[in-house]
Symmetry: C2
């Protein structure tokens, strides 16, 4: 076997083990008996150790030095293997261990602090996490920008400066739109109780309506919805709340977007470095365009209204227009994961600026809560009422995920570009969606974006698919048009 073939055989086994590790995470959130947690920690550490050893195996370095790519896909495989190898090699083993240990501990402390509204209890361990991630960023950056080095793990070939420029364009227009529509009266809100089994049943129907392949996936319940796995086994979870069926339905559609990306990657890349979504931003572009531009459209919600009437009878909303408005209400709220399309990106910008400042050393952990609350009041127009609605709401920082948040908003930006191109490419889109029919739209996304997996860099795949240089204007235009019409501005 050539060096390239040996490297690929090794990478395939690593990818298979990585799938196992991912499924262990799925099991933990869906099936694991509650008393199994201490043993599971040992199991997770063991498989993580195996993966780390494989990724830092000096033999990989030797193969990389000798390997010649046979084609474009082969070159992309080498690029991804090299990126992973270089990143892992740059972080000293002691630091990696300290990060794993500290973040595992920090997650528990964060959960307790959030439950008791006790910011002070969380700060000491957050300081440790921040210090360790800064140390890691320095090791990774090798003289370059520390935050960029962290960002590269989630969104390769993108810089914080580029993101900041995009966000600077977005912020004033989003704040203005939020001011114009927030708290304006809407015709009707959803009220009442909705049977949870019926929610799950309709959820599966919605998943199928978006092309989710049940022969290569399954839908279960979890506390926090997620998608897990690549290739032939991509599972999603959703949640139910009797008072809030939209949460269940749109969590499902969102996760179907993620899952469809993984399911639709070219089978030639199965269990290889190219056989998974290329970045968190591109991933989020798929989940968000499924959920929002398609799933919360007037046309699709018109169809969904009929499905809900069939499942639940008359639930107090009179017609499709009122239902569309109820799905898209812009209301006060503190929690990012529950935010509407208008306010969601404001949440991300807040976190991006604060975590960049933390990593740069321009903001101390002690000043984090005050900085959060000031910025929230400025952008959202109302005050944070308690830490669990403010700087303690997200798990991310406790587990060291600095550089991850901006990918959520990048996903929305990418989704805006794709949606503009999609409307051109599929002229009958609204007629389709009004019948719960997404085949043309999801087929276009599968062909233009999803099938490529890791072949192209994130911005490149979006540019190729949408025919434009990715930027925030299409998203902003879409949001302003949608919500101006909805609120009769």
């Amino acid at each position: 076997m050539s060096a390239f073939e040996q490297l690929m055989a090794h990478a395939r086994e690593t990818a298979a083990l990585d799938q196992i590790a991912g499924r262990l995470g799925w099991d933990q959130e869906t099936m694991m008996p509650r008393g199994a947690a201490p043993q599971r920690a040992e199991e997770s550490a063991a498989i993580a150790g195996v993966l780390h050893a494989r990724r830092t195996d000096p033999q990989v370095g030797d193969w990389l030095a000798a390997a010649a790519a046979p084609d474009e896909a082969g070159a992309a495989q080498l690029r991804e293997i090299r990126r992973s190898f270089d990143r892992t090699a740059r972080v000293p083993a002691d630091l990696a261990r300290a990060l794993a240990r500290t973040t595992a501990r920090a997650q528990g402390i964060w959960a307790e602090a959030r439950a008791t509204e006790d910011v002070a209890a969380f700060l000491p361990v957050l300081k440790e996490v921040v210090a360790l991630r800064r140390e890691e960023g320095q090791a990774l950056a090798q003289g370059g920008d520390l935050y960029d080095a962290l960002l590269e793990e989630y969104e390769p070939a993108t810089s914080a400066a580029q993101i900041a420029e995009t966000f600077d364009t977005m912020r004033p227009r989003l704040v203005a739109l939020r001011s114009a529509v927030l708290d304006r009266p809407m015709p009707q809100r959803l009220e009442g109780q909705f049977d949870e089994n019926a929610q799950m049943k309709l959820s599966r129907q919605l998943a199928r309506s978006f092309g989710y392949d049940m022969a290569h996936g399954r839908v279960d319940k979890a506390v926090h919805p997620f998608s897990s796995g690549s290739g032939l086994d991509v599972r999603i979870t959703t949640r139910t709340n009797p008072a809030d069926p939209f949460n269940c339905f749109y969590s499902t559609i969102h996760e179907v977007g993620h899952a469809a990306y993984e399911q639709n990657i070219d089978r030639a890349y199965l269990l290889t470095p190219l056989g998974r979504g290329v970045s968190m931003g591109v991933h989020e572009s798929q989940s968000r365009i499924y959920e929002n531009q398609l799933g919360r459209s007037r046309a699709y919600t018109g169809w969904l209204f009929g499905q809900m009437r069939e499942a639940f009878g008359d639930f107090g909303i009179a017609d499709q227009d009122a239902f569309y408005a109820a799905v898209n209400t812009v209301h006060r709220g503190y929690i990012r994961t529950e935010a509407d399309e208008v306010q969601y990106n404001l949440h991300i910008m807040l976190r991006f600026d604060l975590e960049r400042a933390l990593m740069a050393g321009d903001l101390t952990v002690d000043d984090l809560e005050a900085a959060w609350n000031d910025r929230f009041a400025a952008d959202f127009g109302y005050q944070v009422d308690k830490p669990s609605n403010g700087c303690l709401q997200d798990v991310h920082w406790s587990v060291g995920l600095f550089g991850y948040f901006p990918t959520y908003a990048l996903g929305n930006v990418y989704a805006g570009c794709l949606y503009q191109a999609l409307r051109q490419a599929v002229p009958g889109l609204e007629t389709d969606l009004a019948q719960g029919e997404t085949t043309a739209a999801t087929g276009w996304l599968a062909d233009r974006v999803q099938r490529h997996g890791g072949l192209y860099a994130p911005r490149e795949v979006i540019a190729r698919a949408s025919g434009m240089e990715p930027g925030p204007e299409p998203l902003l235009d879409y949001l302003e048009a949608k919500f101006s019409a909805l609120y009769g501005l």
Copy 2:
């Protein structure tokens, strides 16, 4: 760290990875989407490769040479690690790969042959499996008995000659008992349809009645019931058939016996070589004593009758005595897994003698079906009607499990010894069981057998627990007494 400590740290990680591999198997039988099978094969191969590499790591040999055990448990840990290391080291890597490849293929061919009643279609690949396992047996035996070397994997410190002697004692008494009771009229048989959800609900209640710890386990459905995992995460499966609730209930109780063994092992052995059942025979002794001596007793079935009346209303059986008889009916049947207590061991002896002859080269694969059918007629008193009811019924030989079958009957023998001692130790046993109360009995088994895990050799743990040298008499006495009374002999 000392060599012993390094070895134990390595063994702990290996045990954790082994748990992961086991859970992957559980997932495959319970949760996996059907289209995921090709990817799962890659994943299973990858984790098996990791485990094999760890088990044959020359470093383990070095540590073993240098390690000194600090105590009795440490010495047992070393014994188990050495046994596994020596066995794996003796099998050439090429042979191990050929076995894995051939048995994976053979399993599919066997399933197809069984479905089409086509013995001839299965024989060529079975010849390959037999040849490979003989080759492996020779490598393992190093001049000793080939079959013993295979047996040692499932039942250490036991010989085929010893088992043959036990079985020779059992066979005439079981054949005589079978002749006396088979086809004699019984008061009532179970008829009608039983809701499958209600079966699962009552199953979980029965599992709890036998002390299954749901905080460290769960009950799901699978085509073939099994127990999976050790320590803090031990899951069982059962199956439902509307016409046959006893299959569901007694599969559950059987698997609870296996699971309780794994759950009740001393926590000090968690994720170590001692942290799992010591042999298949001892494992089966627990599943069988839960299922039969306790679960099919007059006392427990009396309580179960009441539970079934609560769950299903009047189901056509008049009283506890008739119900006890219905649970214990001895009737014609070809399938080992569905056999009653009287005929079950006859199934095992048939397989043991045939597979020993195959491994010795005294029986050819071509003559297997005829040999099976002749022996069946002699021991059971009726003729095999089709291959799926004969030599194609079990998966074992297709996957190369030679040496495994006798452990089922050894389990029954061990259960007989344990039950004799248990009745002495727990005088109120029948009063307890009549109330669905097993705490004293399962507590005694946990303390005498289960908690020791792999500390003592199989016959030793049974001897220590029962206070007698393990032999078949207690089992035979129990069976003759039970079925003579039931059938009014």
